[in-house]
Symmetry: C2
Subunit: 411 residues, 2 copies
């Protein structure tokens, strides 16, 4: 049951809004559902569902498809499907070695996506905004949806204040105190909502919604790029901390005899398990970027000893840190994203050896380690979900379904 | 507002139960309140509050005291106070070096408490239960409350499955697979609810309810004994993880070149910041126990260089680990309990130096570090709150306030 109220003692418009929101959210999260399934999921009556679905059909947000007969008696219940292009959001990802943009329709359907590798170097904010503009034009030109972009979400490899998208620090980008929320809104010249979050935080949400962690309520997502980020889900809710900075696994002091980190400290976890640590161990130069990373992974795939040993050493340090995090968080799944997804087969052996040796038996017995199934797109898709948030909360407002009347909104 | 419903469309008995529960909980958490304050806090009408308070007075759970005149016009609102002895719970604490028991009345009033130091050594479960029995007889004999013990809560330095109080592992007690929940119920020969939890987890709750972290929603509590436990509160709710094992900060691998830990791994945080690490650094023997710990703290207090240096070194390692945990959790307060409360002045300098150098600036700016104000009693008081849980959830059931009639329950 989704906690939908039938409306006793409530203002009917509030109830209608929350019922429409729950239906749209269920379809967005779970894909097409029959009216009977919506009845079961929401606790609303069959006739209430019929009316609400009718409104959504009238507004062009959903269509009803004839159901397949499954040999059960009675009239088959038609399947209610979202129309992906009825609302399109813009998702952006700002990583140190790459930038990406996607136009994503309702239900999480990726309508278009563009990604470019970037040369390393502390890029100015202006330069990155300029490059993002090219990507945005490529994916979100006129005609992508039936109207303008409904909202935008941005995943960035940095420490973000959620409230206004202010980036305090992005050590590997060389950014400090960047008002990214405002800059992106200016770039898009939009009044639509713009939400900014840490790349690993939203990657965790995406993996839980459509990836490796579907159905899990206690999740640790570790996202390996040049920096190493984490997203933690506790009892089904993101661990944000007091101001949204939670999840920064990459800066746990793990090797006190180790190397300096971009954050200013010594021996942070990311100095042992980040992209540069892998490149250096494989005999390449730190700062080699995505092209060299792909070469290392290809060589490991081909059985080259040096690259396999480099991956194994990263796996060993991953296992040491994960043991500590599993002891702290008692998660049911650890999802490894970013570079760890393609490298997974080459690092999981040493990782599990350390995890087994250092985790308390009770939490160890309950946790599994899996590669991100959304791969390098986890954060980009997470940014899209960030953008869908305000739409799903109030489909009435964005779709023009005003007080009790159907408004056939068009572009 | 406490989210109390006035009852439209609800079964009236359910509503009455939840309203009585909310009033009793507000008084238990916050101390005496006037009827006007209860009206403001609950959103119930003045006449509803009058009726519900009347029921609680009739059952002997609360009394109403005449209000002081504060120079405001009108009739003063009497203050509603819980009667501490109207329900008494038993709180037990099982630490490696000490055992404690307390009889605690409504409102958290400690009616009687007994604590004994124990000689170190992996004590059998039977021996500890035998010693607990003496303590229980000392604090919870006939006459402590107006009836038998209403429920019991146990804080134990181990890894506990919350559901049934099964202790998977208590490395420093030498326990594995102990069905403590069942054993305590047998010891007490009671059908009353018995709840078991990790000592640091309940210590965190106690410090948030009545100690250093009142009002904070994102809290890290670190509890130093022979083992080092942690309790984490995220968005106002305890971080339990998938099975209640969450919060085990003591087994984060922090010094890979370090010492073996009781859990079997090498270099866990507690090998650097636990009681034995302090004793050894101060030139005493590991296993010296509480008596030696008190000597070390007394010597530090008197200005002895060796003991001050030992405390400073523990502070340094505390700061290193806390930097990682603050980066991960973005808490507003870190509360240091157990031995860290009396040692606080001697370790805070080196602790803050490491914390400042290793924490990302954004979460660092938002966190403060404070000693536990409940001191060594945090876990014992947390065990009491664990025991109060079922009573506060349904005062109707335990106080004999049956369906719509007042039952003057007596001992």
């Amino acid at each position: 049951m989704l906690g939908i109220r039938e409306g006793i003692g409530q203002r009917s418009e509030t109830v209608r809004r929350s019922n429409l929101s729950a239906i749209v959210r269920a379809l967005h999260d779970g894909g097409p559902l029959s009216r009977s399934e919506l009845v079961a999921l929401t606790g609303l009556t069959r006739s209430a569902i019929r009316g609400l679905v009718g409104e959504l059909v009238g507004a062009g947000l959903v269509i009803e498809e004839p159901a397949e007969r499954l040999g059960t008696p009675g009239r088959p219940s038609p399947r209610v499907c979202l129309v992906p292009r009825s609302a399109v959001v813009l998702a952006l990802e700002i990583s140190v070695d790459s930038l990406a943009a996607a136009a994503v329709g309702m239900g999480g359907e990726v309508l278009d996506v563009a990604r470019v590798d970037r040369a390393r170097g502390h890029s100015s904010v202006d330069q990155i905004l300029f490059e993002l503009r090219q990507l945005i034009d490529a994916v979100a030109g006129p005609g992508v949806g039936r109207g303008p972009i409904a909202s935008a979400g941005v995943a960035v490899e940095g420490i973000v204040r959620r409230e206004d998208g202010f980036v305090w620090m992005a050590p590997n980008l060389g950014w400090r105190n960047v008002p990214l929320g405002r800059l992106i809104a200016e770039l898009l010249a939009t009044d639509a909502p713009v939400s900014i979050a840490n790349d690993a935080d939203v990657g965790a949400l995406a993996e839980r919604q459509r990836g490796a962690a579907v159905g899990a309520d206690n999740v640790l997502f570790v996202y390996g790029e040049v920096g190493v980020g984490g997203g933690v889900i506790v009892d089904g809710r993101p661990l944000t901390g007091v101001a949204g900075y939670g999840g920064e696994v990459g800066h746990f002091p793990i090797n006190l005899a180790g190397r300096p980190c971009g954050c200013g400290a010594i021996g942070c976890w990311e100095t042992e398990v980040g992209e540069d640590a892998l490149l250096v161990r494989a005999g390449r130069s730190a700062g080699g970027g995505r092209a060299e990373l792909r070469e290392v992974l290809a060589a490991a795939e081909a059985g080259s000893a040096r690259e396999l040993a480099a991956c194994a050493e990263v796996g060993r340090w991953l296992g040491i840190g994960l043991a500590g995090f599993v002891n702290l968080l008692n998660p049911e799944i650890v999802v490894l994203g970013g570079l760890y997804a393609p490298a997974f087969p080459f690092l999981i052996g040493t990782l599990l050896a350390e995890l087994d040796g250092r985790t308390l038996p009770a939490p160890r017995a309950l946790v599994r380690v899996a590669p991100a199934t959304l791969g390098v797109s986890a954060s980009l898709l997470g940014a899209a979900e960030l953008a869908f948030g305000p739409l799903l909360d109030d489909p009435v407002a964005w779709a023009g379904l005003r007080e009790g009347q159907v408004n056939y909104a068009t572009a």
